[in-house]
């Protein structure tokens, strides 16, 4: 009797969420794998033709897709470096004894809360109109011109906006790490005559290693999956020079109506994200062991 009521409670507590989760995530994931083996234009009445692995084979000869992979990798690597260097610098300044630290933290974190779509639009205006004007006033029109019309500069613009969005967020994580360092450790080092850079490189950095890992992981996965900023800032342009992975998949499915082929890209996208994450997690685990 008791057993049965326990089971009923279990079902009552767990089943509603498991049901929703299954219909929104699990089922689409499984049928998504299925779709990737078919050729289909997304119209219900038109036939879905089984093509086996053809969609996956086609991926590797798809120049536009390979280009988007290249942009995504360049973007991700450069953005990770920028975001982390800037975020860590901010965190070190904000945790120092400055009186302005609270207001500074407030201001630096603000861009993260404004969504990617809106941020992209703000900067679209800066890079097009404000930059042309600055170039006109200062005469430095080799640097200040409409960045979004030049393929390389448009990619750089995307990196700047992503940095602007995420540096404050990453700063918060580094701050948590730095504040976790016991004060007496720093004090002891200071008494022993360690200078600013000694303290920074020999004490602070080794002790915030876990924060490094978290921040690298966060920036990696956010940059790799970037979509909103991409959409509003450049829309993938000029002529697909800034089209990232996520946007390429979106366009393949919903603009070109290649539902099956686009889904194969989406599955590959998942596999890449999965592998990178697993590598990341295993490195983190190893480091935690050696730290102890």
């Amino acid at each position: 009797m008791k057993k049965r009521t326990d089971k009923a409670w279990y079902a009552l507590f767990v089943l509603p969420l498991v049901f929703i989760f299954t219909t929104v995530v699990i089922i689409p994931f499984i049928i998504g794998i299925g779709y990737s083996f078919f050729s289909w234009d997304g119209i219900g009445l038109n036939p879905k033709v089984f093509v086996g692995l053809d969609n996956y084979k086609q991926l590797f000869t798809d120049i536009r897709f390979m280009d988007s992979a290249k942009h995504t990798i360049i973007f991700t690597v450069v953005a990770i470096i920028f975001i982390n260097v800037l975020g860590l610098t901010f965190a070190l300044i904000v945790t120092s004894e400055l009186k302005t630290r609270n207001i500074a933290r407030t201001m630096l974190f603000m861009p993260y809360l404004i969504g990617g779509l809106i941020l992209g639009y703000i900067w679209k205006f800066i890079f097009t109109d404000a930059f042309s004007k600055i170039g006109e006033i200062t005469g430095w029109n080799k640097i200040f011109f409409n960045w979004l019309l030049n393929p390389n500069f448009a990619l750089a613009a995307l990196i700047i906006v992503a940095t602007w969005q995420m540096a404050g967020y990453i700063m918060i994580i580094y701050i948590t790490g730095i504040q976790g360092i016991p004060g007496d450790v720093i004090e002891a080092a200071r008494v022993d005559g360690a200078g600013f850079f000694d303290t920074l490189f020999r004490i602070k950095f080794p002790l915030i290693m876990p924060s490094f890992t978290i921040c690298l992981f966060m920036t990696l996965s956010n940059c790799f999956k970037i979509f909103d900023v991409n959409l509003s800032l450049t829309g993938g342009g000029p002529s697909q020079a800034t089209e990232m992975f996520a946007m390429n998949i979106y366009n393949e499915i919903f603009s070109l109506n290649h539902y099956g082929y686009g889904q194969a890209k989406a599955i590959l996208f998942f596999i890449v994200v999965g592998i990178v994450t697993l590598i990341q997690v295993s490195i983190t685990k190893k480091r935690e062991v050696t730290m102890q």
Binding site: L17, V25, I27, A266
Partner: protein, 284 residues
């Protein structure tokens, strides 16, 4: 030896000032949007960097009607508030039960929740729309182009993270209180809502903050689910507004400010919780 620490009073003041200037410069793009939202077209094209001649709120009023800002705000608010309430209620119940009835079944469910956090949204978007379309056609439940459908899908996508955070926290709270309450004749439901849920408050705040930031700003999922104008959330109406007014920047700037202002107000009111929540959510 430790000379680099002691900059002297003047040096320190200069440092403070310099950092403040950097911070102000950091938010300069938002300032540019603000000043240009008051200008008329001729003024804007004359010099985008100059301050406006007068504080003209005309474009705000116009942008507000053209974006259907009030409607979009209400939609965004409803979707965010209801989604988060449901996520908090269902995820905390699920996580608690999974921890307290620890068995193979519970562990598998938990593993599935956690491992699916890896799946990017782009991998699910097309088959999700097909699934929801199938439910609409065959079970006659309006999942597409309704706010209810959008909320339902938000709950599905928010579940993993919330269950994960609650699961970690429940494991750290002692079971003795719950046992005492059970002996006193409290049902599981009573135990959870009267005793456990109040103790979960720190995690509830974290989940709420993370989900507000995500759902309020989410563009892609709502853009796929919602097609009618009246149901647009703020990011959707901003997107369509921008499509129409890219050559009318002053109007566009006023529209942007309208969407940023609620975020800034929310931030200034709940700053302490937001920063704590974001830090806690990332570190776990």
């Amino acid at each position: 030896m430790s000379g680099s620490y002691k900059l002297g009073k003047l040096g320190k003041m200069a440092g403070e000032l310099l950092f403040l200037v950097i911070c102000v410069f950091y938010l300069y793009p938002v300032f540019i949007v603000l000043i240009n939202s008051f200008k008329n077209r001729a003024e804007l094209y004359e010099n985008v960097l100059a301050l406006p001649n007068e504080l003209n709120f005309k474009y705000y009023a116009e942008a507000m009607t053209k974006m259907n800002f009030t409607g979009a705000f209400i939609n965004s608010f409803l979707v965010t508030a209801i989604s988060i309430t449901v996520i908090v209620v269902l995820s905390s119940m699920t996580a608690w039960m999974l921890v307290r009835s620890d068995g193979r079944f519970s562990r598998i469910i938990f593993m599935v929740f956690v491992s699916t956090m890896l799946i990017p949204f782009q991998t699910l978007m097309m088959p999700l729309m097909q699934t929801m379309g199938w439910i609409r056609d065959n079970l006659h439940i309006p999942m597409l182009n309704t706010l209810g459908g959008l909320i339902y899908m938000n709950v599905g996508f928010g579940a993993s993270m919330a269950v994960f955070l609650y699961h970690g926290f429940v494991k750290s709270i002692p079971i003795s209180l719950e046992e005492a309450a059970t002996i006193d004749g409290c049902s599981k439901f009573g135990v959870f809502w009267k005793i456990v849920f109040p103790m979960l408050k720190p995690t509830t705040v974290t989940v709420m903050i993370l989900d507000v930031i995500w759902i309020w700003n989410d563009y892609l999922l709502p853009s796929l689910v919602v097609s009618s104008k009246a149901l647009r959330t703020i990011p959707l109406s901003t997107f369509s507004f921008f499509g129409q007014f890219t050559r009318q920047w002053n109007m566009a700037m006023a529209g942007l400010m309208l969407t940023i202002i609620p975020v800034i107000i929310f931030y200034l009111c709940a700053q302490k919780y937001i920063i704590k929540g974001v830090a806690a959510g990332a570190v776990k």
